[in-house]
Symmetry: C2
Subunit: 177 residues, 2 copies
DNA sequence: TTTTATGTGTGACTTATATCACGGTTGTTA
DNA sequence: TAACAACCGTGATATAAGTCACACATAAAA
């Protein structure tokens, strides 16, 4: 639940996730948090890499979803390693590409699909990271998807009717797919 | 109007825009084209950089908006220069960062704002690149914003009433802001 | 000039989603 | 055990946007 990176914060080092899961959000002017993607062990925060390279400020909000160990690599090493180790260069480039793709997928989701599909997608992602028993409230989900509790409740009901999930208080169990 | 890069196409080189303007789109399954951002002279297609580095396929669609000159740099040079020239490294990193930011802004726009604001934003962007006399139909705009002609027509009418634009056949003149 | 294609305007309607206003349930604290 | 807070369900209604139908205007082609 800890905030690792606030919007507007200056970034001085590249962050690598050693273990745990980190959730990245985009924030609007009123502080509404829109979920973008997860980062987990072995992944790097591309944005932090880019920002670090220019001493710029963060455009996103990062929160720990589980306990996590983060390795912060000072800018100087970042640049040095880029030219020195091909494997590091490959790692960085691959990270970029993957984050970029996630972002594009997010755009697809909100530009081309309806709430029901987005919810399904979202739940699958959570299940992937956290296992099939999701400890979250309808309100939590609504926040991440920039929707409202009632809408999520109704959609979950429909999914339950289709036997995709079982709804408990404070948790949702994914059973199909 | 020429397509420079199709979705699914394998990328073998990094592309730099020497002059002209290129428009990037995201495509859905039915071929609907959602406008993401412009690239112009001096900018590089970050995605092409990333993909090129792994011989992967394109996730986006690029079209020339004006006549343009594109420089294609083979992968081999890309890697070499990265470690050899600090200026090239800086250029690449900066390009990434800028494209990443654009993508985040796009997400903001579709996640947090309504059609009227998005249209205003869109028109301003076009005006920036092409001048205040935009040669495009309402249908063109609707396609880029993944909306429909009627909606755009109505919103433009409202903007005209507020004296922000003058609507002509086949073109729109931006007068205020 | 007539025809045809393309672009625009507008009312009526539909749909997805958001919001409001409740009431009910469960778990926690006093 | 009472009372309180957090969570969930659900009908009613509101709103933004998309769709349909059609009229009309302009420009190009025949």
């Amino acid at each position: 639940g800890e905030t690792l990176l606030k919007v507007g914060q200056t970034i001085r080092s590249t962050m690598l996730i050693l273990n745990g899961i980190v959730k990245l959000y985009r924030e609007d002017d009123e502080g509404k948090e829109f979920f973008i993607y997860h980062l987990d062990a072995g992944q790097a925060c591309s944005l932090s890499m880019i920002c670090a390279a220019k001493h710029e400020t963060s455009e996103i909000l990062a929160k720990a979803l589980t306990d996590a160990t983060i390795l912060a690599i000072p800018l100087a090493f970042m640049e040095q390693w880029m030219s020195k180790y091909k494997s590091w260069y490959q790692f960085v480039i691959t990270s970029y590409r993957n984050r970029f793709e996630e972002l594009l997928k997010t755009i697809d989701a909100i530009a081309f699909t309806n709430m029901d599909e987005r919810l399904e997608d979202y739940l699958k992602k959570q299940v992937n990271k956290l296992g099939s028993n999701l400890k979250m409230t309808h309100q939590d989900i609504a926040n991440d998807l920039n929707s409202s509790r009632e809408v999520i409740s109704r959609l979950l009901k429909k999914m339950e009717a289709k036997n995709w999930v079982v709804i408990h208080r404070n948790s949702i169990e994914w059973i199909k797919h």
